[in-house]
Symmetry: C2
Subunit: 128 residues, 2 copies
Amino acid sequence: MTDDTRSTALAALVDRYCEAWSLASADERAAALRDVWADGATYTDPGTDALDAGGLLAYIAQVHARYPGAKVVRTSVVDVHHDVARFAWQLVRADGSTLPEGLDVVDLDMGALRIRRIVGFFGPLGRT
Amino acid sequence: MTDDTRSTALAALVDRYCEAWSLASADERAAALRDVWADGATYTDPGTDALDAGGLLAYIAQVHARYPGAKVVRTSVVDVHHDVARFAWQLVRADGSTLPEGLDVVDLDMGALRIRRIVGFFGPLGRT
């Protein structure tokens, strides 16, 4: 795979993952997650720890209950090296207002092009 | 542990880790790394992958050969949740000039207060 091909494939992977957060239908969110999530993959952010696919979908459903019509949009390139990547994202509410940007750090299965783990951080990183 | 105590302890852990990059003596760098590095911990950044403690110390020695007198300085708070953290850092050369800021994402052994894994990224995250 060339660097450009890999970069395009990874951006598509992350954008499909973002659809698992953004689609209105729970079934469609589950289908999006199935396309990107490796067996045994986990999700951790400040509000939750080590969810599996089912746990993550339930967590996303809570976000949709709180912010009906919200979408998660990637706001950076996917910066990758070796089998790890980072990207920034923002939750956009139905009225277009946004929450502070988050950062996801991803462990990848580069062979299968799937996500093995996501660790997320919320908001800007405080300065010393 | 209170949040404040934990926060102070983690900042001290990361600062001791930064000493493993900054001290002039290879022996002192090794001693600093021994204080913070868990058995089996690994280090990955855009220039290298999955180094163990010995490999990391050799990699740091290469940085010192290239930038004599350089130090690595933490430039953000240590933002932690669950057993993961992120912090920003900068390499400061002997003449005070700096390289672009890096970001390290850390898997922690919170019980032993040691680093289990670091994944580093270099420079600002490109925007879409």
